[in-house]
Amino acid sequence: MKAWHWLRENAVMIVGLLAIAYMLIPILVIAVFSFNDPSGRFNFEWVGFTTEYWTKPFAITELTDSLLLSIRLAFFTAIGATILGTLLAIALVRYQFMGRRAANLLIVIPMATPEVVIGAALLSFFLTLNVFELGFQTLLIAHIMFSVSFVVIVVRSRLIGFDRRLEEAASDLGANAFTTFRKVTLPLIAPGVLSAAFLAFALSIDDFVISNFNSGSEVTFPLYIFGANQRGIPVQVNVIATMLFAVTVIAMLAVIIQQKRAEKAAAMRPEEVANKPAISLPV
């Protein structure tokens, strides 16, 4: 009777904990199995504890190369998509032009289109165009292409809440359009731009389907893991995955803290910020 009462009192918390566990246990499994000492080629059964693979995470050259390629690709994707997406967002929010509403809708189409379709379409496009050699170039073009929409959406939401009178004030004080953008607009939308860049990075480093079509002979980190799955995944994959996870979490925390601080500075009326989500970063 007493137990039943306790259960009823804490039902919401228990369900919440179960939901969180459901989301996080798979990740925990990856981390745990990075300490496994598998007997065969497959790291699917727990055999014994070892830190051996943590001491030599980069022992497998192909794995390390694929990781470096993915990081390089994600880095340039983030830069390219952020610049393009930010400019797009500014155009969509600030300027009245023919087809603006249509453009606002078209922006979400790449997000809604199944990745397989985009991947296959891009491949036939590249083959038809026959300008780029399949490899890093096509990967970069593909990754920027599918990341831009996300950047536009994140930056656009930041711009919509932007107080245009700040730009009028800058202009009033003698700043031309470019100086106004550099000194007032950009610093104030920077938190949004930064989250967008992180998002693009995360999307790129994680992509498998589209990369699989357009990589040519290049092997990205997800492609390597998928390939390795056929002949047995080395424990190093778990080690590196755990590292990536840790880096992502730390980066996300850094962004949240930075954004909170920036928003506090940007807020003339603090109660408005309290109602806004601190971060929009679905990594």
């Binding site: 800058a170 009033d172 004080l173 003698g174 940007a266």
Partner: protein, 358 residues
């Protein structure tokens, strides 16, 4: 609209929201461009020039301080754009912050300041550039009454010190009366009257001005001849104002509430013009007693009786009493009906009392 503002003048555009005063200000600033016409500053036509090329600076209603910069950086922003040497920027910014009493907060960010302090930073940020014209768009609108009063005095003081032309936009008639050298009362995109505060209050020229500034005591009347007007259901009164109207033209006679005498009909001075009415309500306001007296079916007059002594206050007629309102002929003015009077009648502010203006 045609408007001339003198050098070093404190000029106010006063009117209800939507009357075009802010739009006019924004056209002077360069945020909006006029479709036709000219904007001359110091003899140069700036129409078509963008804001950053104009010799004007603006104090915004919402202050529009740069939230990511310190006060120093905010105030120095304009000078930096003009490529003023660093040392000079430093001293001028310091002087300006000193003037508005915020030297100690120089390194703070705007969101760490109160509304009144932010307003002063906005003023400093504009004034430091020594513009030819300083534009102020309801700069005190967001502040509470007490703070507003204090800043009104400061603002006027600063304007006298620096001698810069101020163009001030407000919908607060009292603010306009206390600070301005000249007031343009605006309504529906037009200037109804442009005069010094005393003239605007004492001798309004249209029903709109009479109603917007102070309490409107409008009595329908007809100009009955040169130098004479006949009040509807009332006496004929000699007034030089009648010369502005052709004989038989409809107009309104205005008498300010504090200029009206209220007496029982038998005690009323016989040598003064007056109208009969019934007291509808009587409100004790502390400094005065305010009475509403109905003199015709659709004409109600407001009367202010200064609180001179307890005895006199007690002797005032109460609600329901038949009374006679009288006034000195020189306290009565004739106004023409505004074109927009019908529309304005709905949005007329219902100020109950105008203190300290007499």
């Amino acid at each position: 609209m045609d408007l001339d503002i003198a050098d070093g003048e404190f000029f106010t555009m006063l009117g209800p929201s939507g009357c075009g005063k802010t739009t006019t200000l924004r056209m002077i600033a360069g945020f909006e461009q006029p479709t036709t016409g000219k904007v001359l500053i110091d003899g140069t036509d700036v129409a078509g020039q963008p804001a950053f090329k104009r010799p004007t600076n603006t104090v915004f209603q919402s202050y529009a301080l740069f939230p990511h910069m310190t006060l120093e950086e905010n105030v120095g922003f304009g000078l930096k754009r003009k490529k003023v040497p660093k040392d000079e920027i430093k001293t001028r910014v310091a002087t300006e912050l000193e003037r508005v009493g915020l030297s100690r907060e120089a390194k703070r960010k705007p969101n760490q300041l109160s509304g009144g302090q932010q307003q002063r930073v906005a003023l400093a940020r504009a004034l430091v550039n020594l513009p030819k014209v300083l534009l102020l768009d309801e700069p005190l609108g967001a502040l509470d009454l007490k703070l507003r009063k204090g800043l009104q005095v400061q603002l006027k003081q600063i304007q006298r010190d620096v001698g810069i032309t101020f163009v001030y936009v407000t919908h607060d008639q009292e603010e306009a009366l206390t600070m301005s050298d000249r007031i343009a009362v605006m309504n529906e995109g037009r200037i109804e009257q442009c005069d010094d505060p005393e003239t605007v209050y004492e001798r309004p020229t249209t029903t709109f001005v009479a109603g917007f500034i102070g309490v409107s005591n409008l009595m329908p009347a007809v100009a009955s001849g040169p130098g004479e007007v006949r009040i509807e259901d009332g006496p004929s009164v000699p007034t030089p104002d009648a010369a502005r109207f052709s004989s038989g033209e409809r107009c309104y006679a205005v008498v300010r509430p504090e200029k009206l005498d209220v007496d029982l009909p038998e005690n009323s001075p016989t040598d003064q013009p007056g109208v009969d009415g019934v007291v509808e309500s009587s409100l004790y306001l502390g400094t005065a007693t305010q009475m509403a007296v109905r003199v015709a079916e659709d004409v109600s007059m407001t009367v202010l009786c200064p609180n001179v002594s307890e005895e006199e206050r007690q002797s005032l007629p109460g609600a329901g009493a038949r009374v006679r309102l009288s006034w000195l002929p020189e306290h009565m003015h004739l106004v023409a009906e505004s074109d927009a009077d019908k529309a304005a009648a709905d949005s007329k502010p219902t100020e109950t009392v105008t203190e300290g203006v007499n």
